[in-house]
């Protein structure tokens, strides 16, 4: 009688162990599929890849933003952001959330954004908080454009991103926390000669960290 009970218990244990193994296998399978499937989609939509974005230093641009033939990742990216950017057929929109050294742009630091006027284009450079909101400041200054920026005689410019007032082209960052810089370049279709293109400097500005508090 006792040996019978022991046998039944042994079989029951084996069946439970078998069922647990099967359940664990299924859980591993489903977990892997969920993490890899949704995670890879989230990464491609949020960050992009070489197929959908182009990176120049810390600047990122989505290659087919607001185009009729945009890929699903680009469509999903801008739908999730809730923005309506200018089409890459007529303009280029670059976003930077990091400085040249790879550190996250933050309002507790001061930055020097240095570049050169972009020939044959209208451009603007605006600073936002991490969620794309305009940063409140007493000077009511949020952006510089090719019409409003003070250029040096050779066409170079330097913009200072800082919490407190600075001489020259100063963009206040207040206490916004993490920052996002957006450079919009509208192509005016003027074209340029080969000589012009050779002489033209890199139009994408650098972002150097000056100091942090």
């Amino acid at each position: 009688m006792r040996s019978n009970l022991g046998f039944v218990l042994h079989r029951l244990k084996k069946r439970i162990a078998y069922a647990t193994n099967i359940a664990a296998d299924y859980a591993m399978f489903i977990g892997f599929v969920l993490i890899a499937g949704i995670g890879s989609a989230w990464y491609m939509v949020d960050t992009g890849s070489a197929l959908t974005t182009e990176r120049v230093g810390p600047w990122v641009t989505w290659l087919s933003a607001a185009r009729a033939d945009a890929d699903p990742y680009t469509r999903a990216h801008f739908a999730r952001m809730g923005t309506l950017p200018m089409s890459t057929e007529v303009a280029q929109t670059l976003t930077a959330r990091y400085d040249d050294g790879g550190s996250r742009l933050h309002s507790s630091c001061e930055y020097a954004v240095k570049g050169h006027d972009i020939a044959g284009s209208w451009w603007s450079l605006a600073v936002f908080d991490d969620d794309g909101r305009v940063i409140s400041n007493p000077a009511e200054r949020y952006t510089f454009t090719s019409d409003t920026i003070a250029l040096k005689p050779n066409g170079d410019y330097a913009i200072t991103l800082a919490r407190d007032a600075r001489p020259g082209n100063w963009l206040p960052t207040g206490g916004a926390g993490r920052l996002a810089l957006v450079l919009t370049i509208v192509d005016l279709g003027l074209g340029s000669s080969e000589k012009d293109r050779e002489e033209e400097k890199n139009p994408i500005p650098s972002i150097e960290q000056v100091n942090c508090r």
Partner: protein, 199 residues
């Protein structure tokens, strides 16, 4: 389950299971990507829907903290917008792009770009669009089909049911603000018959 137990389990994983997992990952990746726009908490169109009257061009106030209709909408420009609905008839949009930096963009309610144009420096660009549903275009209700010759009407006809037209005027400094605002106010958006009568 510890990491060593997980590793001990790996040799039991068959090639068929790996292949099935990869196929499932790819399917889920595609479904998640395609579903992402629909799962967005609020689209640009839904945010603008409360602000903009239907089939009427509205000049938005200067972009400032607390007065920003969409994220990353910069104060580098003044905006006039029209939320169009062509289900009650073709919608006509006319705008002038007088100088560098001016642009007109038309988006569907799903955020897809339908049309984009920028001004050429030193040349005044006049844009006239007629937005109509695919059904109307199929039924021949385009301006040309309704009796106007192509020579008389230079409007570009586009298929679009609902969406937003955005006219951008660049911030050229204080001296130009009044001029640019007046030009933005001159742009027109409305059901085609009503626009023609108003002119």
């Amino acid at each position: 389950m510890t990491a060593s137990e997980l590793l001990a389990r790996l040799p039991r994983v068959k090639l068929r299971v790996i292949a099935a997992a990869l196929v499932a990952v790819v399917i889920l990746h595609i479904l998640a990507t395609l579903a992402a726009p629909r799962l967005a908490p609020s689209t640009a169109y839904s945010r603008l829907a409360d602000l903009l009257p239907v089939n009427s061009m509205k000049l938005l106030p200067v972009i400032a903290p607390g007065a920003q209709p969409l994220p990353f909408m910069g104060p580098d420009s003044r905006y006039a917008m029209c939320r169009f609905d062509s289900t009650k008839g073709p919608v006509q949009i006319t705008a002038n792009l007088p100088g560098a930096g001016w642009s007109l963009s038309v988006f569907s309610d799903k955020g897809d770009s339908i049309y984009a144009a920028v001004a050429q420096p030193g040349r005044r660009t006049e844009v006239s669009l007629v937005l109509s549903t695919s059904d109307e275009r199929f039924a021949g209700l385009t301006p040309q089909a309704s009796g106007q010759s192509v020579k008389e009407d230079r409007s570009l006809s586009l298929p679009a049911k609902r969406g937003v037209a955005i006219l951008r005027a660049p911030d050229q400094g204080m001296a130009y603000r009044a001029i640019n605002e007046a030009e933005l106010k001159r742009s027109v958006c409305g059901v085609r018959g009503a626009v023609a009568a108003a002119r």
